[in-house]
Symmetry: C2
DNA sequence: CTCTCGATTGAACGACCGTTTAGTATACTG
DNA sequence: CAGTATACTAAACGGTCGTTCAATCGAGAG
């Protein structure tokens, strides 16, 4: 029999979970190996013993979160990363650590976070292209830039969740927040903000000038 | 004659500028007092001598940045914080340190950053109300939430400038980026993203259900 | 001139950091 | 059974952290 039967559900995974919690809450630099060890109920030496270094532990946490994110993609063709995030947002209590950590990853500019964001933009771009092709979405002068904007608008509640929650008087990312932002977001994406094209035309004119 | 004639333009201000640069670039926790001292060309002890502690230095940097931000508001009635930020974005080279630091402030959830964001939301809410009253902007089911969304969308390029720049192949916040995002942003705010209200109506129906 | 006081430095302090090491307990292998 | 590999701890190491302290310098006051 192997000594580590499932390679997980063990001390090692408890350490990783503790690290994910603390990295997400306090950030990488502000989290000490000793505090992770304490949260996991082990010694600091054991953390290093299992993961080699704090940096390698971070890399493993990153990989774990990315895997978690991809897991919920489902099997159908429609199943993309945004849908996965939608699933998570609808079951907040279960996925809060994952989402919190995701926000940190995107902020820290970690390797994994960068690649994840690139994937998100690519998926969004495809989705927007299909929307335009199907006639349900407006066309644009700069499809890639619009995909970047829509993507960043989408991850904004996760990345800026602290400020977002504070302004709504909520203790963190709550279902109430998600529900309340749904209509205004869709209103913006349906009717826009401006009632005519005055500002847009002015900008077009101005940009044509100094090109 | 006083020993510190203008109370600034001295070593003290050089230390503060160095701190702003490094806090903005690396974050508060990742910046050491010694590195600030080196950047300013002084000893670490002198930094503490002038500001009392690293935390008090941060508070003074916060206050300085907020003052810098308010300075550009101009005198006319239209002069609000957003206009000030617009001024800064149009003269990037001069205001880059200020804008970089501003992004950090909003992320760190510092006291000053929170208050600044509250002010921005309030100003945005007023601006949107006037827009609706003047008939140039769409109305909304949740004015405050829309103001929050529009505000956060507005600061997003500053807060997420690293990712934003990386995805456009730029080295940082550049005039090229600002120019390129102008049209897609205004397109979204003018025509929206969806060509009809299918999604919006569906969401309205769904929310009416589980209220 | 002396006295005083703020600016400034370099060394030192104690705390905490990530990591290493030596050692113990345990459980599988042959 | 002895042998070996692994989980794990406690202590220690070297380094960096924010901060303190004693000493020096220079300029203004009397």
């Amino acid at each position: 029999m192997r000594s580590t039967p499932v390679e997980d559900a063990t001390t090692r995974s408890r350490i990783r979970d503790a690290a994910i919690t603390l990295f997400a809450r306090d950030g990488f630099v502000a989290t000490s190996v000793r505090s992770i060890a304490e949260e996991a109920g082990v010694s600091a030496g054991l953390v290093i013993h299992h993961f080699g270094s704090k940096e390698k532990l971070r890399a493993e946490c990153d990989a774990w979160i990315v895997a978690e994110l991809m897991k919920n993609k489902g099997g159908v063709d429609e199943g993309n990363l945004s849908a996965s995030m939608q699933v998570m947002l609808s079951d907040l209590d279960q996925y809060r650590p994952t989402l919190d950590y995701l926000g940190r990853m995107l902020l820290d500019g970690s390797e994994a976070g960068d690649r994840l964001l690139d994937d998100l933009v690519k998926l969004t771009e495809t989705m927007l292209e299909e929307g335009v092709a199907n006639g349900v979405m407006q066309s644009t002068s700069d499809p890639y830039m619009r995909a970047v904007l829509v993507t960043l608008h989408g991850v904004m509640p996760i990345v800026l969740q602290r400020q977002f929650a504070r302004m709504l008087g909520e203790p963190g990312l709550t279902a109430t927040m998600i529900r309340r932002m749904t209509l205004p977001s869709l209103e913006l994406y349906t009717h826009g903000l401006y009632r005519d094209a005055t500002m847009l035309d002015a900008a077009r004119e101005a940009l044509k000038g100094n090109e």
